[in-house]
Symmetry: C2
Subunit: 499 residues, 2 copies
């Protein structure tokens, strides 16, 4: 038999399966496989197979000639079974790649094409370069709006789909790109305090300094079993968790892992990605927040309108009630950037602390008001006032505390990072621009979101008058290397324009 | 100091630098780097830096927490020095990526854009997914002919350029896609016997069953130092080597490593790739062979004409004298597919063996005739007869033997692989089609070109009458697994149509 013995190679290859074959393997000619990039590995005992990129090993301690090594994520897909017999074969080119080539050649694809592509991507049959080819082929000039609909449908179909058994399941989503901006953690308790169902599962940050899940984790457990999440939602009408999203539109996660390092975010992919996750999560009514600003994802009103139309077209076809809100994306929202600092901002707003950042409060109330108006019993235009009443009365805070207790309370914000550096204004004047991308980058370099207490705390915002030498923001870090990286980046370009 | 100690991880990651950092590294937060894909590693002793993809290690034996591991190719770029101190930083996004994004958005790029892209790719600053993005952005509908010219220029400039000090340096190149077809090994001795300078450095196969270098290696050494190659060329007016091409238009090799597994081969990339390599190798006069056939790279005369125009436009701008020849690409040329079998075909033609494949001889004479007509002393239309005289008289064979001796003689073709299987006609009739892609695939699965004696030997060609059960071709292999792969592929689809 042409079998090799499976073993784990303790290397984390981040969302790409990698297989390790010894150069002197007597059964298979390693070089023969390598240039074609992918091999298919089949468990001889049960017929299960996966596709992996091939690396060739010259060290028996990593993989011996009679073994086949798998990276951690690939090994887990085989149930983490050591020394089972496997066979190796040339990976077939996935059928759906033909569709990708037709797309590259400028054709429009149909629903069946997108279904094939989504199935093959979900089945880990695409390499990263094939995914990159698909994303580029679909970008900017590439996707007609019906194609965005097909892609969304195909992504929903290739994963689980939650059903909450109620006619009104609300959600909100910001397309991203503005640091801070932790409105979700305010909107959820306000809306749930009113009694609406808002089962929010948020993402962790991938390339931004904090996601809602990272920030919520400062206050409470977020990795909960699906059963536990459902129990909390039944009791509280809400949750702020992370668990289980991997099974919802899993293709989306795989695409994002390639999109982000490519710095790509085409409108078609953006809309399909967001709507697939929301529909799969069981939402029936959705508010989309599109921040507009020179360093936000959407730079001007014209692009924002085009994006709104695309959201509306696809959601209408899917039977999802959706409204788009444009917001001010010229600068970060709130003061903190990074999990601990953002959690502090959120709690200050909930506690009606006079020091609470006004812009975060105001934006959260606007959005929460729009969500509340999905309730047939709330009169049009009254949502904002209702949201404000819920917040000012302390009912939102009480709901947040109940959610935190239900999920499992953590220590809370505490102090930001032990390493601390003030970035100073280089001249006197008025703050006329703040670069979202640069501030996010500095916070990320400082260690956020991995180090919860790392990040950037803004001391001034747009329109503030500053003197030369005034601190404009403070960098917090835990690790010395990160501290250096972020200071150097701020030194080179602070992200603030003072005139 | 934030330094780690460099070590080699004995893994061959095939043209992508990979770095290995322990998850518990105390200096750097491994997860912080991973999602962004790339890190920059700098040798603290001399300031040299490289860019690598990051993998995270959970096993001290592969990389300890105070070490930074590098895959074999990355380690070689650092001069293979163990335990030198290195620092790690977030890799900057290469400036030229902006050009790639503009290209994705549908813009045309200028010479400076392509120069930046070529420099960054040559400097290993692009990840494979970034290269894939560039290739897709440039494909099919994407490149204007001036852009092809700019890309070609940029690729030439980022490598070495040979100068042979003579006004007439000839070369020939087939765009590929037709198995067998080993005309180069006939044209070179014919042309050199006439006294023209033809310093041929050929490639090894990447995804085809044999390249000229693989086949020549059956007869002679091909990995020669640049000095040795020059010495042979001075003495023989020719060589058939492989060495040194890596330094000529190195961007081309990097692009091809991504293009092939993507099954991409857009006209713009094809023309830029071929012309950059040829100009860098010092050619002044070039014949391009474009085989046309339903399973060749170029399917019809219309596409072939468009490709010819593109070759002509770019070569004219570069001052390269170029002629395009269309040839019959409906089936493999010669009988053998795979290094040993193709070397046998070539030697039969040179030896004027009555068993020699007539189509290979005829095609080589046609092309050699066109090359000979680059000689101002050869009258237009007389090249073919001259080539035939040189071949028939044994002068081409004598020249080939001299080249083989100069490069270092190897054992010669010998017998094909020990494992042997005849594929039989499933019905009686006439052979009406032979699928180049399928025959190449079967030969490749059988082990070619890694196993020199593996491959496919054709017993019948287009137009032959066969009886049911007649052998149509024989598969040869060395390894049992390869033998199975190729037999299964032939079983599923023989590649022959008999009607």
């Amino acid at each position: 038999m042409n079998t090799l013995l499976l073993r784990q190679v303790a290397i984390d290859t981040y969302k790409e399966n990698v297989a390790y074959l010894h150069r002197d393997c007597k059964l298979y000619r390693s070089e023969g496989f390598q240039a074609l990039n992918k091999i298919e590995i089949t468990n001889q005992e049960n017929g299960q197979s996966i596709i992996a990129l091939l690396n060739i090993v010259d060290d028996d301690r990593i993989t011996a000639p009679d073994e086949l090594g798998l990276s951690e994520q690939a090994f887990a897909q085989f149930g983490s079974l050591e020394r089972i017999p496997v066979v190796v074969a040339h990976a077939p080119v996935p059928d759906s790649i033909r569709g990708v080539h037709r797309k590259i050649a400028g054709e429009s694809l149909g629903l069946e094409d997108y279904r094939g592509i989504a199935r093959d991507i979900a089945g880990n049959r695409y390499s990263k370069i094939e995914i990159a080819a698909f994303l580029v082929a679909c970008s900017e000039l590439g996707l007609e709006r019906d194609e965005v609909l097909y892609l969304t449908r195909a992504m929903i179909e290739t994963g689980r789909r939650l059903d909450w058994g109620e006619p009104l399941v609300v959600d909100k989503h910001c397309i991203g790109g503005v640091p801070g901006n932790r409105t979700t953690m305010l909107i959820v308790p306000i809306v749930a305090a009113h009694g609406m169902l808002i089962p929010k599962t948020s993402s962790r940050a991938i390339t931004s300094p904090a996601g809602t899940a990272d920030t919520m984790e400062v206050l409470a457990q977020v990795e909960l079993s699906p059963e536990k999440l459902h129990e909390i939602v039944r009791a509280q009408r809400a949750c702020l968790g992370w668990g289980g999203t991997a099974a919802l539109a899993p293709v989306d996660d795989i695409l994002i892992a390639v999109e982000r390092p490519l710095l790509m975010d085409s409108p078609g992919q953006l809309v399909a990605s967001i709507l697939a996750k929301k529909v799969a999560a069981g939402a029936t009514h959705l508010i989309i927040d599109i921040p507009i600003g020179p360093t936000a994802k959407v730079r001007d009103r014209k692009s924002a309108l085009a994006l709104r139309k695309l959201f509306e077209y696809v959601s209408d076809q899917l039977g999802l009630v959706l409204e788009v809100v444009f917001s001010d994306g010229r600068q970060p929202v709130g003061r903190g950037i990074g999990p601990v600092l953002e959690a502090r901002d959120v709690m200050q707003v909930l506690e009606n602390d006079p020091l609470a950042p006004g812009d975060l409060r105001e934006k959260a109330l606007q959005l929460a008001g729009r969500v509340l108006e999905f309730d047939p019993d709330v009169r049009g235009g009254q949502g904002y006032a209702l949201a404000r009443d819920i917040l000012d009365s302390g009912r939102a805070l009480a709901k947040m505390q109940a959610i935190i207790d239900a999920q499992g309370r953590n220590a809370g914000p505490g102090d930001p990072g032990v390493l601390r550096h003030d970035v100073l204004a280089d001249r006197a004047g008025e703050v006329t621009a703040i670069d979202n991308l640069q501030l996010a980058r500095i916070a990320r370099l400082a260690g956020a979101p991995m180090d919860k207490s790392a990040g950037v705390d803004l001391r001034h915002k747009l329109g503030d008058a500053v003197k030369a030498g005034d601190p404009i923001y403070t960098i917090y870090a835990e690790f010395n290397a990160d501290f250096q990286f972020s200071r150097e980046a701020a030194e080179l370009e602070s992200g603030f324009t003072i005139q």
